[in-house]
Symmetry: C2
Subunit: 312 residues, 2 copies
């Protein structure tokens, strides 16, 4: 009996700044129901799925900033999503801005939770690779201030045994970094979940705006192939508060092939039945890590953070 998992990507269209959490959660519940009707046992929502992508704005009033954050998960506004998922018996993966108090200190993370079919949180991830910048850039039409609003994640790249699979968690910019997939690949990951908000035009590299969709897929396809796992990438998409966000949500097979892809920039469910045993093909051969990796030559990856040019 082959192991299979039908997974859904629940892409959302834009979320306006004045859209209430309750209204957003109603949209997520509608997507959840559609995914369940399509056979999904696990539904992947975007990064920061409950609000507009606020790091585009330079905000100074801490109360205004914190209004984008959740102090509890589930809270009053998000509980209906948890309850409906448990009623349907569907798991989900949800991104949100997390505000926690540690010893009286407020800490803010770009976070996702993995929720099982009974509505219990069974995994948590805090974004490690925060893109963008900390300071106000006066010559840009908007900002990308994740480094200002969040601190880097402190939970590594977790892989959980859930849904009869090894499930790995990451967020948005993490998907461009091969270290992300490899740390999970070394935990035998079979299914990587990633939500994203990708502004185009980019604040940092407008030269490459025309390649944004290519870079998005290239990174996830290479990560899937090189670690022989499925990748589910889910966007918040469309024109949001005057800024465009990349769509292109997709499900990638361990071959690196895209097996499902969104065709709109709005709320849209994509589905794939992942034949998890396909992961074994390359995990046992081309990417049999135990047989082929040579860690004695990888030292710089952990010893050195930034690049240093060669002598001469």
């Amino acid at each position: 009996m082959p192991r299979t998992l039908t997974v859904a990507g629940a892409q959302t269209g834009p979320i306006a700044r004045d859209e209430s959490r309750a209204a957003v959660v109603r949209r997520l519940i509608a997507l959840l129901r559609e995914a369940h009707a399509g056979g999904a046992r696990l539904v992947v929502f975007p990064e920061l799925a409950l609000t507009t992508f606020f790091p585009r704005w330079w905000l100074e009033d801490q109360a205004e900033i914190d209004a984008f954050f959740e102090r509890e998960m589930p809270g009053p506004d998000t509980r209906p999503l948890f309850e409906e998922a448990a009623r349907l018996g569907v798991g989900f993966y949800l991104g949100y801005a997390e505000l926690v108090e540690h010893g009286g200190i407020a800490r803010r993370f770009n976070t996702t939770v993995l929720v099982d079919a009974a509505g219990r949180i069974i995994g948590r991830y805090r974004k490690v690779h925060l893109p963008g910048h900390r300071d106000f850039l006066p010559d840009r039409p908007y900002q990308h201030l994740e480094k200002k609003y969040f601190e880097p994640g402190d939970l590594g790249f977790p892989v959980r045994r859930a849904f009869d699979a090894n499930v790995g968690m990451c967020i948005c910019n993490d998907r461009r970094w091969p270290e992300t997939y490899r740390v999970m690949g070394l935990q035998d990951v079979e299914l990587v979940l990633v939500g994203y908000n990708t502004p185009v035009p980019s604040v940092m590299t407008p030269q490459y705006d025309h390649l944004a969709a290519f870079h998005n897929h290239l990174s996830m396809q290479a990560g899937a192939y090189q670690n022989s796992c499925f990748v589910v990438g889910v966007a918040k998409a469309g024109r949001e508060e005057g800024s465009d966000l990349l769509a292109g949500s997709c499900i990638v097979a361990p071959s690196g092939e895209i097996i499902a892809q969104a065709s709109t920039e709005g709320d849209e469910v994509i589905l794939a039945t992942c034949r998890l045993d396909l992961c074994a093909i390359n995990k046992r051969t081309t990417f049999n890590f135990a047989a082929h990796r040579r860690t004695e030559h990888y030292g710089l990856i952990t010893e050195r953070t930034g690049a240093l040019p060669p002598p001469g």
Copy 2:
């Protein structure tokens, strides 16, 4: 004045088992001259460019095996290539099977040398990621015995300042491993050179034979994008001793785009003028390693060789 380097990929067609070194070197010289006429300052030849791809055969006679190896570089047969390159003022990158004696012990590597425009060897690399297997597989039409005939390289992934660029060296299967590019990326690599022999059908993963060209390009495009460097990938291609070798030699820009590609399975020169300053776009922004890498979460990459599943 922008830094540019016109580089050539000198793909070769098949080399028969009974083709002499002198005959092969004449083919390489013809490609070198064509590349030079096209403006190339650096010419990249394939992996094991002097012989047929002998790891497809199970050989037991050590003298027969060693006939595929070079004991000196340059030697009598290869010296004409070095001399012609120096006469033209062109550098090159050449793969061959290397036999060295260390303290009376014979050691065999799958090796490349980087040669400057004066014909001097300025860099040497020995293949780290040896694919295939050590033992005879009786149910296969041919073998892939690199692990039998070579030992893993002992020189890391070197990057040299040469040709007014930071030039990195790797071979064939190395290109599928993100560690390869990242170790060079941390040395600020701008141009990665890689020759390959890729048998199709594959001994190990016949399920993916129809994707061989896709996987070849996917790996190099991701490596180029994620480290913001050019990659020059050069095949030995075509039907060789009854076995097909993948073509698809290409030059990839730091954007991940293929900017030159071979269109045959034979001896063929591809050319691109690499605008080396393009590397800075993402090295300073999206892939500014110093700003964004989080080495505290990468530990498994060097601590663990093989994959271990998560608890549960």
